[in-house]
C-alpha cells in the first residue's frame, strides 16, 4: 500500500466518528442530553488523537517502522480539529454564545481554564505544521516548539480528570497511557547513543 493512499485511508477513517456523530444527531439518537453527549464525545476524540499522535515516536523507535512518522502530522491536526469542535460545543451549547458568562466561567471553574489553555497551545503547532513552516523555523527549533504538545496532553487529561464527579477510571486510564508515552521519551533520552534527529518533513 503506497503512502499516499494510506494517508487517504487515515484521513477518511479519522472523519468516521464525526460522520457517525452527525448521523446520530440528525436522527435524534444522542439521548436525553445531546449537548452533553456531543461535548463528551468530541473531548474524548481530542484526547484519543493526542494519544495516538504521541504514540508515533515510541512505536517507531521500538518497532523500527519509520514510515509511521508520515502520519503524525495528520493525527496531530485531527487532535486540533476535534479540540476545536469540543471548544465550539462549549461556546455554543454550554454558554450559548454568552461571552460574558464565559469569562466568569473560566475564572470560576479551573478545569475550563486548563482545557482552554491546552487547546490554545495547539494553535501555534497547527499553524507551523506545513512543510514551508518547518523549513522556515529549521528542524531543531520546530522540534522544540512542537514539544508543547506534551503540555497540551497533560492539560487535556487533567481537564478531563477534574470534570468527572467521582468515577475517575477513564481519565486515569488516559493518564496512565500518557505517562507511558512521556515516560518512554524520558527513558529514551537517557539512552546512549542517541538516535539522529529525523527531519519532521515526511519523505515523499
Amino acid at each position: 500500500m503506497d503512502t499516499k493512499f494510506s494517508k487517504v485511508l487515515l484521513f477518511i477513517n479519522s472523519l468516521v466518528p464525526l460522520a457517525l456523530l452527525s448521523w446520530d444527531a440528525y436522527h435524534k439518537k444522542l439521548g436525553a442530553n445531546p449537548y452533553e453527549f456531543v461535548t463528551r464525545t468530541t473531548g474524548m476524540l481530542t484526547l484519543v488523537f493526542l494519544m495516538i499522535s504521541l504514540a508515533v515516536t515510541p512505536l517507531r523507535k521500538i518497532s523500527g517502522w519509520n514510515f509511521l512518522v508520515k502520519f503524525r502530522r495528520m493525527l496531530g491536526l485531527y487532535a486540533f480539529f476535534y479540540g476545536f469542535l469540543h471548544l465550539m460545543t462549549y461556546i455554543w451549547f454550554d454558554r450559548f454564545f454568552n461571552f460574558k458568562s464565559m469569562a466568569g466561567d473560566i475564572i470560576q471553574r479551573p478545569f475550563i481554564a486548563i482545557g482552554m489553555a491546552s487547546f490554545f497551545l495547539l494553535v501555534p503547532l497547527a499553524i507551523t505544521s506545513t512543510n514551508g513552516m518547518v523549513k522556515r523555523l529549521g528542524g531543531k527549533r520546530w522540534n522544540r516548539l512542537h514539544k508543547l504538545v506534551y503540555l497540551t496532553a497533560i492539560g487535556g487529561v487533567l481537564h478531563y480528570y477534574m470534570i468527572v464527579k467521582s468515577d475517575t477510571r477513564v481519565p486515569l486510564t488516559f493518564a496512565f497511557v500518557l505517562a507511558l508515552l512521556l515516560g518512554y521519551r524520558i527513558y529514551a533520552a537517557n539512552q546512549t547513543p542517541k538516535l539522529p534527529v529525523r527531519s519532521p518533513i515526511p519523505p515523499r
Binding site: 477518511i12 446520530d24 436525553a32 452533553e36 470560576q108 477534574m162
Partner: protein
C-alpha cells in the same frame, strides 16, 4: 549439458494495464470499506448511542394533585423516554445513558422497608403495605440535578409524613436517615473499584424537612410503576433539593438524634453539603448553579431559589446562612 533457458513470461499472462488498474482500485475500495467498517465498529463499541427501554406497569386509582401549594406545575413535562433513559444511579453505572439497560433485570419482589430508630412503633413494611397505606397521588415536580440539568417529572407516590406519623417518632428524633439496598449481585457499581462512593448509598433529612408535605416517597411516574433505573420500587423525592438527595431503592428509614452521614458529603464534603438545597446564588466549587439546562429544551433557564418552591419551604431555613449550610 543442455540447460533449458526459461521462457519469457508469455504475453498472454501479462496483466494488461486496465485490469491491473481495476484490480488496484478494487483493492483500494476494499481497504477503504474494511477500515471504515472497523472504525465504525470501534466507535460504536466505545461510544454507543444511548439505548431506550420500554414502559412498565400501570398504577390504579391515582389521585390528581392539588393545583396550588407546589404539588403540581403546568410546565411542560419531560418525556417518559428521557426520564427513563438519563439516570444518575451509580449503583448500576456512572454513565447516565447506560443505567436503563443495566437496570432491566432488577428484582423488586419481595421488597421491604424497615422503619426504625427513635420511634414508638418500629415496623418492617412490606412494599404492598406501603402502597396501600394511603391513596397514591400524582405530584408533578421539577427535578434539578447538581450537574446543571433539570426535568419536570410526574411522580406517583405519597407523603413521607404519612408513614412517619404511623411509627410515631419520639421526642429525641431530630433527623431521618435513609439507606439504599446493598446488593452487589444486582448493583454492579457496588463492587469493584472506581466509582468513589461508599456503599450502601445513604441520605438524610432534618425531621421537619421529612415531614414537609412536598416530601414524598415515590412509587411510580407517568402513572406507571417506577422503572428500576429511576429507583424502583420506592424512592424519596425532595423537589427543592438537588437530585442526589432523593435517594433511590430504599430499604431502611431510621429516625435519629444526630445529623446522619450522607453519601456525597462523605465523598467530597467541600462540594456537597448536608442540606444541598437548590440555590442559584451558591456555586458548586467546580461550577456555577445560576442556570440550568432543562432536558429536551434548547438554551438555558435561570435556576430558581429552592427550585421554585421557596414559598413552601423557605421558612424551614429562616435565620440560617445558606452559604455555610449549603
Amino acid at each position: 549439458m543442455l540447460i533449458k533457458k526459461p521462457d519469457d513470461i508469455k504475453s498472454s499472462e501479462i496483466t494488461d494495464k486496465e485490469t491491473y488498474l481495476n484490480r488496484r482500485n478494487f483493492m483500494r475500495g476494499a481497504a477503504l470499506l474494511a477500515t471504515t467498517a472497523a472504525t465504525t465498529w470501534l466507535y460504536r463499541e466505545l461510544n454507543p448511542p444511548p439505548p431506550v427501554t420500554r414502559p412498565g406497569e400501570k398504577i390504579a386509582d391515582i389521585v390528581k394533585p392539588a393545583p396550588a401549594g407546589g404539588f403540581s406545575t403546568d410546565e411542560a413535562k419531560t418525556s417518559f423516554k428521557d426520564i427513563t433513559n438519563y439516570n444518575n444511579f451509580y449503583e448500576f453505572s456512572t454513565d447516565k445513558q447506560e443505567v436503563s439497560e443495566l437496570a432491566q433485570g432488577f428484582v423488586t419482589k419481595p421488597w421491604s422497608v424497615a422503619v426504625e430508630g427513635l420511634v414508638n412503633k418500629p415496623k418492617v413494611y412490606d412494599l404492598d403495605d406501603l402502597l396501600k397505606l394511603v391513596p397514591q397521588e400524582e405530584r408533578i415536580y421539577r427535578l434539578r440535578c447538581v450537574e446543571r440539568w433539570s426535568m419536570v417529572i410526574p411522580w406517583v407516590g405519597f407523603s413521607l409524613a404519612e408513614l412517619l406519623k404511623r411509627v410515631e417518632p419520639t421526642a429525641q428524633a431530630r433527623y431521618v436517615a435513609f439507606e439504599t439496598l446493598y446488593d452487589p449481585k444486582q448493583f454492579p457499581g457496588q463492587s469493584g473499584l472506581g466509582t468513589g462512593l461508599d456503599w450502601p448509598y445513604v441520605e438524610g433529612l432534618r425531621l421537619d424537612e421529612a415531614m414537609h408535605p412536598l416530601t414524598i416517597l415515590a412509587t411510580g411516574l407517568y402513572g406507571e410503576k417506577l422503572p428500576p433505573q429511576d429507583g424502583a420500587p420506592i424512592r424519596l423525592v425532595v423537589p427543592w433539593k438537588y437530585g442526589f438527595k432523593s435517594i433511590k431503592s430504599i430499604v431502611k428509614i431510621k429516625l435519629v438524634e444526630q445529623m446522619p452521614p450522607t453519601a456525597w458529603n462523605l465523598y467530597a464534603p467541600r462540594e456537597y453539603g448536608f442540606y444541598s438545597n437548590v440555590n442559584p446564588n451558591v456555586s458548586h466549587p467546580r461550577w456555577s448553579q445560576a442556570k440550568e439546562q432543562r432536558i429536551g429544551e434548547y438554551g438555558l433557564r435561570d435556576t430558581m431559589m429552592f427550585n421554585g418552591y421557596a414559598e413552601q419551604v423557605a421558612q424551614l431555613y429562616q435565620g440560617m446562612d445558606l452559604r455555610v449550610n449549603f
